[in-house]
Symmetry: C2
Subunit: 195 residues, 2 copies
């Protein structure tokens, strides 16, 4: 059991609440006063935990990154490496559906909003994409070694395609708000993996 | 030859200038006064052409949509339908590189910023994705009929995968600012099409 101090609890409360606001309206449209109002935390206390709005944004991304990889690791389950990847995609799409196709992917959203203007933000997002692709690549390598994929398969390229398709799929289904779109994309990824 | 009136020229000047601003900073962060400053058009004249900021945003999307499909139609060239698709992807990536990976895709950006809050915007973006996917599907159908693809190929799913991969690829390469990323994605799409 981890003991959590009051300060840590407050910090986590600020991070999770701010994440919801950022997912809904992006970084530029989120004011510190909106965070204060939504969290109920006093201004001085907020600045005690985060020196600036940029610091807070970065900490939200870092926190969401940790949560995403713990989610992904749990979702990568199945009887073989390809089933693991497909199940992880299913789990990601299920989240999107659970959120009624609203909000989408914090990393994707922030990538489009912030990477041209803020290197610190793009650093964290780059880390998410690289680590995610790397995890899938390991599974695809394993699948190829186990002859579940043709020898000519390039695990690195295929892993990047799966991640790009997922990000594109989340974007496109946010526009259509149509569950059938996600089913199509899942079928497409399944077929990409030769299943 | 089309004759263009002074009013049409002004309208087009406003549309093209506003598009650059929207690509760079999104809809919410773009103020009417920024548009007035960048275009040099008087406020009354701007409102003569566009009744509101929303109207202007929608007109920019419609104008960009027309330009994109004329670009895409020209880029879909090659000795067979698969070569045509691959060349269109190359042309899209070349644009991304030409822009130094800055800005990305106006439709993708606006999708992530606006679709949860504005149905008119998401309507135009949905049209772009549907028409783009439809065009690729026609080419893939043709390729399957010409036995350039396995009979089991599902043109609709494959077309959606190509569009999603492109949108994801533009997003991911905006983060990495790395030309090798685009080469990887082009190789991935080429391999998706069995080439």
């Amino acid at each position: 059991m981890t003991t959590t101090s009051k300060g840590e609890k407050t910090r986590d409360h600020i991070l999770k609440t701010t994440r919801k606001i950022l997912v809904a309206q992006g970084f530029h449209n989120t004011s510190i006063s909106a965070v204060i109002e939504a969290t109920g935390v006093k201004k001085g206390n907020l600045y005690y935990h985060f020196a600036s709005k940029e610091d807070l944004g970065l900490a939200v991304l870092e926190d969401a990154k940790d949560e995403f990889f713990s989610f992904l690791t749990k979702a990568l389950v199945g009887h073989d490496p390809l089933a693991k990847i497909i199940n992880s995609c299913k789990a990601i799409f299920a989240e999107q559906e659970k959120n009624n196709f609203v909000g989408g992917c914090l990393f994707g959203n922030t990538a489009l909003e912030m990477t041209d203007s803020n290197e610190k933000f793009s650093g964290v997002i780059q880390e998410v994409f690289t680590r995610w692709t790397g995890l899938l690549e390991e599974h695809l390598d394993e699948a190829r070694t186990a002859s579940l994929l043709p020898t000519a398969t390039q695990p690195r390229l295929l892993a990047k395609t799966v991640v790009a398709t997922l990000e594109g799929a989340i974007m496109m289904s946010r526009v259509s708000k149509d569950k059938n779109d996600l089913n199509d994309f899942l079928a497409a990824i399944t077929s990409l993996l030769g299943r």
